[in-house]
Symmetry: C2
Subunit: 251 residues, 2 copies
């Protein structure tokens, strides 16, 4: 198979010896962060950074924090824009499902499985092959090598990607709100080591869904870390623990 390397569009050095490169893969924008020491003779493992579908620009501050931390631990990180987000063309089916979600919430009605499926599945269906192609492209760079991890908040993408992509050998998953029923079935088939983060008092997330999904994961090594602090208040020691998870599995 002929792999097209990422088309690098800009490069900058960040504090702390991190090299940030923007790239495109066809029409999909992405960002790659590597430790300054990474080279063809010292390739580093890669962690794919998942994120909610709010657009890379809006997510950048949180993504770059995670990238800096991973670079300090000796890992490259990369992410791409999700279908329908940022500058990418909207997905009409997903937009419609979002309107349905807003309508249900405003009417105080329950968010049905149908709404969740429509919100998540078309996006995941399109995103998984895109992230796999991104992986092909990124792994063609000489300074990237070794096993791949996935770290992200979109459980449906994380589960599907880890299931579809044998190069992903470990995943750190942040508990998210909307888990389609199909993802529970896929979760049972997973075998890679999992590190699951749950913000215990996150009002936007359903705790029981997160616990049920953790229970469903088929992996022999799975760990749940539940912490206080709300949706974006993951304590720094929880980030440290996730970093050690990747150090155990990607080194």
């Amino acid at each position: 198979m002929r792999v097209t390397p990422p088309h690098l569009t800009s490069e900058q050095r960040l504090d702390g010896g991190v090299r940030e490169r923007a790239f495109t893969l066809g029409e999909i924008p992405g960002i790659l962060w590597t430790p300054a020491f990474a080279s063809a003779s010292a390739p580093v493992p890669l962690i794919l950074l998942g994120h909610p579908p709010l657009g890379l620009r809006r997510m950048y501050p949180r993504l770059v924090d995670r990238a800096r931390r991973s670079a300090a631990d000796g890992f490259a990180t990369a992410t791409i824009e999700l279908p329908g987000s940022g500058e990418r063309p909207r997905l009409p089916a997903v937009e419609e499902a979002r309107a349905g979600l807003r309508g249900a919430r405003e009417a105080g009605e329950p968010v049905t499985d149908e709404i969740i499926d429509a919100l998540v599945l078309p996006l995941a269906d399109q995103a998984v092959p895109e992230w796999r192609s991104a992986l092909d492209a990124l792994l063609s760079l000489p300074e990237i090598g070794g096993p791949v991890g996935y770290s992200g908040g979109v459980l449906s993408l994380g589960v599907r990607l880890a299931l579809a992509e044998p190069r992903v050998v470990a995943a750190c998953l942040f508990a998210g709100s909307f888990v389609p029923r199909a993802v529970f079935e896929e979760a049972r088939q997973l075998t890679v080591p999992l590190h699951v983060l749950l913000q215990w008092d996150d009002e936007g997330n359903d705790r029981q869904t997160a616990l049920d999904l953790f229970d469903a994961f088929g992996s022999a090594e799975k760990t749940l870390h539940a912490n206080m602090g709300g949706h974006t208040g993951v304590p720094s020691f929880a980030g440290d623990a996730a970093a050690r998870f990747f150090t155990r599995h990607l080194r």
Copy 2:
């Protein structure tokens, strides 16, 4: 208050620079482990090691593993025999409750709140003041100083001790089977940082009780680490995480 220091009955050096001293406090036997470097000019924090009421002799292998690990992290550890265990006189009320538990199990009947209360509360009522006296005695040794942690599997003792004893500033609690209703109320009053370990597929433990108790804890910093591996199969990385919890809070 006049504090009686522990009566030291034997001493040995273990591999890895650990000093193990057996002691008695009145009729209660105990063990103290200290890193070899601990001295009056370099006192170390203390972690009290809780354990199930199976007798110190039977629990020794697991306790000494935890003690070695803690010594490597720069902590002293100590434990004492629980009331009614080991060579100590039996507690008739607790023996009767155990017979009730066995009877219920053999008959396939549910373990009632009354049985749980009778099993746990008299033991905790007697143990808490004993552990506090042990703390007085151990802190009178010049090589022990600084804040105190509790690490143990007997949630009822851990919760009550952490609540009653202001010198305990952090607690690592292993989810246990039998949690009296009163302990849920006490859990809400706790404020010290908590690190809670749950073996997710531990058949002898009720998972929902553990999750409910974690939810009840009043502490602003509380973390739940759930892992696979059965009751005694806590993975080594979970022990590492517990050690880092104490390093964060006792240093």
